[in-house]
């Protein structure tokens, strides 16, 4: 019985931590709402959903499979570039507009996209179809890139693997920056907007739609990690030697994890460019799309999807606060010519350091997941007695 009590108490503590995190988030949101109004809340919510998707995919690879994924940006780039390059071209092709190499050229693109937008704006069904097409295209290209990267990378271990993934991620950014045909090279390419139908209320619609997509991915990942496949992943993470001895195909499972993770991250990247309305290759840095997601994940708790969500929420609010209040709170820096925006990097670095030093398991530590729900296990045990 004491065992049960201990488990219950532990559970209560966990519940309380989550509760506190949510309360902090709500308080900060209320504060921002009173100070700056509703648009800033919507921006935060959109960013939270996009980065939650990316960070959850990172969590699948790092938290569940134990792959040091320092090249998350590669998959995000795959999704972003695919959405910037492919769906718009397909629309242009059907509308009889130029869709070849000239689509991405900066002198043509800014005239093409408004035409596509006006067509999308005429029917919400077509807009929905376009959104679905964007997600599918992003997911497929992400999975493809994930598979491609996994080929040379899968045989490496630990730090070697991490560094190779990081290098691949950087390389993709440079490819996008130099290959004009893809997304315009050094000039950004506009992305047709599937939310144009809603006009000025665009953000009001983006938030629930993105939240729904993030929720679907959240549920899917929870199901996946509780399935036999998820148990294989955790076994591989804890001890790859014993996993191999138990007859698991390590290379296959790691490849699957990398491909699923890349696919989800690419969807996140695709949604991000739909929200911003343009793709600039040079903006897809490893700082934004690899290191920030790592910080979110570490703050939230590696291996816990709920924690990841809360981590993204808290840090996104802090980032936004630095941007909003840079002249009010950090005027002393402006006085000597320093832009307070750099504090974002300081925050990122400090969060990583503090989490590692003082709370290595994050806000919401990963729970030991039982194969069956706890209640059912209890019931079975009672029946036996």
């Amino acid at each position: 019985m004491t065992n049960h009590d201990g488990a219950d108490r532990l559970k209560n503590i966990l519940m309380r931590r989550e509760l506190y995190a949510v309360l902090v988030i709500l308080a900060l949101l209320a504060f921002l709402f009173l100070r700056s109004g509703i648009p800033i809340i919507l921006t935060i919510l959109i960013q939270v959903t996009v980065f939650a998707i990316i960070t959850m995919s990172l969590n699948l690879e790092v938290g569940y499979t134990g792959i040091p994924q320092f090249g998350r940006v590669a998959a995000v780039i795959a999704g972003a570039f695919a959405v910037g390059a492919i769906p718009g071209r397909i629309m242009a092709m059907f509308m009889g507009l130029p869709y070849g190499a000239e689509y991405a050229s900066d002198t043509v693109n800014f005239r093409l996209v408004p035409q596509i937008n006006s067509l999308l704006g005429s029917s919400w069904l077509m807009s929905l179809g376009f959104l679905v097409m964007c997600i599918v295209v992003a997911g497929i290209s992400g999975a493809l890139i994930g598979w491609l990267i996994s080929r040379p990378a899968i045989r490496l271990k630990e730090a070697y693997l991490g560094i190779s993934l990081l290098a691949f991620g950087d390389f993709f950014m440079w490819v996008g920056h130099n290959w004009k045909l893809l997304v315009g090279g050094s000039t950004p390419v506009k992305v047709p907007d599937p939310f144009i139908v809603f006009g000025a209320g665009r953000f009001n619609v983006i938030v629930p739609v993105f939240f729904f997509i993030a929720l679907v991915i959240f549920v899917y990942l929870n199901k996946l990690t509780r399935s036999p496949f998820g148990r294989n992943l955790r076994m591989l993470r804890d001890n790859d030697l014993s996993a191999a001895a138990a007859g698991l195909n390590i290379v296959k499972i790691r490849t699957q994890s990398l491909v699923i993770g890349a696919c989800i991250a690419a969807i996140g990247g695709g949604l991000y460019v739909i929200y911003t309305g343009s793709v600039a290759a040079i903006g897809m840095t490893r700082l934004t799309f690899t290191f920030w997601p790592w910080a979110y994940m570490m703050l939230g708790g590696i291996g816990s999807n709920v924690g990841v969500f809360l981590g993204v929420f808290i840090l996104t609010i802090f980032r936004t606060m630095i941007i909003i209040f840079r002249s009010q709170w950090f005027g002393f820096l402006l006085a000597i010519g320093i832009d307070p925006l750099w504090l974002e990097f300081t925050l990122l670095g400090l969060v990583i350091i503090i989490v590692i030093l003082f709370m290595p398991h994050g806000l919401i530590p990963a729970r030991i997941e039982t194969m069956l729900p706890v209640n059912r296990v209890k019931k079975v045990l009672e029946q036996r007695q």
Partner: protein
């Protein structure tokens, strides 16, 4: 000297020092030091500040660069790395902690660049350091001096590691930490010294690289994959391997881009980063543990054995 060769030599000696710094720290503390990126940039800014505000040749400031780099290493050791090493943290945790430190340093560098712009009316965000160089034998002096400094530094390091008592203790710790501490070697001090040396090396390497490329606040951040590529190519087994790996990566980048641009046109220049990464990926595919994974002793042994067989 051809322009690509002189630039390549300068760049490669810088990359060699940074790759050596990464390797040194990895073999002593198992830490993959991301902060090398910002330490390198700091090295460049120390030289830049000295040259623009106090005048003189860039070479004058190299001792100062080493000292400031060493201090950044020291701070990282006492503030961060030491606690994690005591805790026996995983390799990935050690790596992430230096990443956090790197980002803090990066933000400080950016602020410093803003500060220079505002207060001294300088342009520290796009700097061509080679303008401050002098001419020697009809070429940039750096192309001769920097490789020499790198070699000199390496020689001193070699003498330090093989001839001094502390150097021998350090090597013992690298070989077998448990046995070394059992025989009374203070491993804490060994870690500290390795952080100091590698911090100084990284800053010095960064100030070298700035002589061949455009100096920017994100210079280190963009080149860190190449520094890692050099260290990994060297196999992370010995400092000399790391230095050699960095040299190879740096020279092949310049030579490769030069040759490819001649053959296919200047559009290749944009993808220059791909060449060293390709070399690294190819090496890792064949030898998943880097160049030190090559069973060199075995190969030599078999070759020697064959020779004996031939002569007999």
């Amino acid at each position: 000297m051809a322009p690509w060769l002189s630039s390549g030599l300068i760049y490669a000696s810088g990359l060699a020092l940074t790759a050596g710094s990464i390797t040194l720290l990895y073999i002593v503390t198992r830490t993959f030091n991301f902060a090398v990126a910002s330490m390198a940039t700091i090295g460049f800014y120390v030289v830049y500040t000295g040259v623009t505000l106090y005048g003189g040749l860039p070479y004058r400031y190299y001792p100062l660069v080493f000292i400031i780099g060493a201090i950044t290493g020291l701070i990282c050791y006492y503030g961060l790395n030491r606690h994690l090493l005591n805790r026996k943290a995983a390799e990935i945790t050690l790596m992430m902690s230096t990443l956090g430190y790197d980002l803090v340093l990066l933000s400080l560098i950016q602020m410093y660049a803003d500060f220079l712009t505002y207060n001294y009316k300088l342009f520290p965000r796009r700097v061509t350091m080679s303008l401050f160089d002098f001419e020697l034998f009809g070429d940039r002096a750096a192309a001769f001096i920097l490789p020499l400094i790198a070699i000199g530094f390496l020689t001193i390091l070699h003498i330090f590691l093989t001839k001094t008592k502390f150097g021998v203790a350090m090597r013992a710790t690298i070989e077998n930490p448990v046995l070394a501490s059992a025989s009374g070697i203070n491993s804490d001090r060994v870690y500290l010294v390795s952080w100091i040396i590698s911090g100084g090396m990284a800053a010095l390497g960064g100030s070298f690289m700035a002589m061949a490329m455009t100096g920017t606040p994100v210079m280190g951040m963009y080149t860190i994959p190449l520094m890692f590529a050099g260290a990994i190519l060297g196999g992370l087994g010995s400092i000399y391997g790391g230095i050699l790996g960095g040299m190879v990566i740096g020279l092949t980048e310049y030579a490769g881009v030069y040759l490819l641009a001649q053959r296919f046109g200047p559009w290749v220049l944009g993808y220059r980063m791909g060449i060293p990464l390709f070399i690294m990926a190819a090496t890792l595919l064949v030898f998943p543990r880097g160049l030190s994974g090559i069973p060199l002793a075995k190969i030599i042994k078999s070759l020697v054995g064959q020779k004996r067989g031939d002569s007999a």
